[in-house]
Amino acid sequence: MKALGIISFENNNCYVSGITDTRPINSVSFLGRYRIIDFMISNFTNSGISNIDVFIKSKPRSVIQHINRTNYNINSKKGNILILYGEQEITNKIYNTDIASYNANMQFIEEANVPYVVIGPSHFIYTIDYNKVLETHRANNNDITLIYHNSENAKEEFIGCDTIEFGKNQRVKNIVDNHGKYKNRAISLESYIMSKSLFIDLCKKANEVSSIFWFKDIIKDSLDELNVYGYQHKGFCACINSINAYYNASMELRNYENAKTLFNKKWPIHTMTNDSCPTLYKNEGSAVGSIIGNGCIIEGQVINSIIGRNVVVKKGAIVKNSIILPSALINKNCYLENVIVDRYAVVTHVKQLKGSKENPIYVKRGDRI
């Protein structure tokens, strides 16, 4: 596919409390094995996009450690994956928009010898074949094709995302915030296909209109002049813009039938290998209703949880409805319910941690409690 893939970043309303203090949302561990960003980059590489610019809002360290060509099956000579961010100091974070970052790195976008640009946000989790989107885009002579997802539960999910109002033939008439007022809404997945020249024009135009414009704002602003049409995505979809969204998406995917609408053998989700050995369930260890990464030692009980790579759950410990990020340790006889334990944290002194589904307790990266 002759296109430049742009991995865009989340707007300032997205905040996954605690977890994003040390890293951008997109490099948070997901399902015990992945980083959130793996899904969108894999969509690109599986669609045959081998020239990818990853834009990072701030704290690039964890992304830089994670991303390289080999991990994502990108050709080592003809392919390229760049990590880009605004290098100038930004005094107020409201100016740290995707547009500002695109304009600061315009040279790399202009250099790419491709007719199209595909934009995919790094904090959304879904699988899509962009070849099919491009086919529709060309066939209908669209200026911009926008990917959307019909939610039947928009009162509770995709809060803070944009909803689409359609006119005739799926033409996008208006884009408005989802405040959770209505049940059935078409949610914008903030992913677009357009010609490279239009993308560059829009970035420049946005800059002239407002310094705090985001790319989605300039699209909304241009709906009258441009043919913007929708392309429907089907299957599992989540926007990780809050701790609840993160928790709920993880829990939903514990169900293998749900997971099958996201994963597909022909559409591998690439990630960085860690060379962990398989997981050992010891004599008294057990697990039900859970997703478990490699390299774990399970001596206690794991119930309806997500257990990351290299996690140890000691004897007598019970982990229920919780998400344990890689390399954490849950010591003997600790009881955890509705808890998110970040990487390298150790739960040992506190014998009981009980949050609620709406308000899961968060244990910080590297903490020892």
Partner: protein
């Protein structure tokens, strides 16, 4: 940095005929082990962890899969400039024409040009079908310290089993004075592990002589080591302690997998300081469903468990469906145990489907059963 003082040569041409259908189309070193590995991952990872940069792999039997697998040297971090993994099949030569490797020593003799080109000082001979973790660099340091011509890794076996091995008889300084292949009345219990370090110059001379000898089997154990001993060269034993297993039979392959479940398992695959590397597998994490019962098992990514798994090892992408039971078994990559089926004391080969309600059990007093699709089809046919 390239550290090419010692080149490792892995003998991976063996057929492994006692593994029956597991090695029908693939060489023994490429057989799966321990959930996510292939046997050859162990010597290759040991090389990588011992700071060896160049590894030659001598292949012969059914080597397509092994060649493509082993040549991806970045999987083991054996990919620095100047180093790498070189797959070395027999080839046509100007002087000798087309031939096969006539024995373990001949495989090396036929690649003397490779060793010359890599400018080796020492050659490490390894076997591609053993499961163990070993620091070859430590062994090399001993070899140099002892000023030995060859150093052979040995391992203490129970005296009553010694007659099954190649036994090294040593003096007080662990210098080898005698080598006996499968002796009836063993004088020591130091078994050769088939791991040799040779100083290359001397080895080259002996290999060249051996090549011309029509009475030779061109084998390290039978010919080269005895020739060294007869000529009074200095052979040292290097004692290895830890886990070491030859997985040459269905029973021993099963045992080695079961050892991973044991509380006092000495093969620590969780050790971050000595990781066993393998190919980069693109699979989901494992799914353990609401009704699943998993007990004392070793399970890897891509597995989906709805049924009961006890004391078993599940390899990549295995599915155990609702109410199925897997006990004391090894289920290899991509195999499916359908609803209500029972598998006990078996090794299920790759990509086999155990049908619904099908029961396949090897009794305690029988050997472990190797389950292939062929076997299942035969049994189904008999029922009709």
């Amino acid at each position: 940095m390239k550290t090419n003082k010692m080149i490792a040569m892995i003998l991976a041409g063996g057929r492994g005929s006692r593994l029956y259908d597991l090695t029908k189309n693939i060489a023994k070193p490429a057989v799966h082990f321990g959930g996510k590995y292939r046997i050859i991952d162990f010597p290759l990872s040991n090389c990588a962890n011992s700071d060896i940069s160049t590894v030659g792999i001598l292949v012969q039997y059914e080597s397509i899969l092994l060649n493509s697998y082993a040549s991806r040297d970045h999987h083991w971090g054996l990919d620095i400039k100047g180093g790498g993994v070189y797959v070395l099949p027999p080839r046509e030569k100007d002087a000798t024409g087309l031939g096969v490797y006539r024995g373990t020593a001949d495989a090396i003799t036929q690649n003397i040009d490779f060793l010359d080109q890599e400018d080796a000082d020492y050659v490490l001979i390894l076997s591609g079908d053993h499961i163990y973790k070993m620091n070859y660099d430590k062994m090399l340091k001993e070899h140099i310290k002892n000023n030995a011509d060859a150093t052979i890794a040995v391992f203490e076996v129970p005296m009553d089993e010694a007659s099954r091995f190649g036994i090294m008889n040593v003096d007080d300084n662990d210098q080898i004075i005698e080598f006996e292949e499968k002796p009836k009345n063993p004088k020591s219990n130091l078994a050769s592990m088939g791991i040799y370090i040779f100083s290359y110059k001397t080895l080259k001379k002996y290999l060249k002589e051996d090549e011309k000898n029509n009475n030779s089997d061109h084998d390290f154990g039978k010919d080269i080591i005895p020739a060294y001993l007869n000529n009074g060269l200095k052979l040292m034993a290097y004692r290895f302690e830890g886990y070491w297993k030859d997985v040459g039979t269905i029973d021993s392959l099963w045992e080695a997998n079961m050892d991973l479940l044991s509380d006092n398992n000495k093969l620590d695959l969780f050790d971050n300081e000595w990781k066993i590397y393998t190919e980069d597998i693109v699979s989901l994490p494992q799914f353990i469903s609401d009704d699943a019962k998993v007990k004392k098992s070793y399970i890897t990514q891509g597995c989906v468990v709805f049924g009961n798994v006890t004391s078993s090892v599940l390899f990549t992408d295995v599915e155990v469906k609702q109410d199925a039971t897997v006990k004391d078994s090894v289920i290899m990559n991509g195999s499916i145990v359908e609803e209500n089926a029972v598998v006990e004391r078996c090794i299920v080969a790759e990509n086999v489907t155990i049908p619904r309600n099908f029961k396949i059990i090897a009794k305690e007093n029988e050997g472990i059963l190797l389950v292939t699709q062929k076997l299942i089809n035969e049994r189904l046919g008999n029922k009709k």
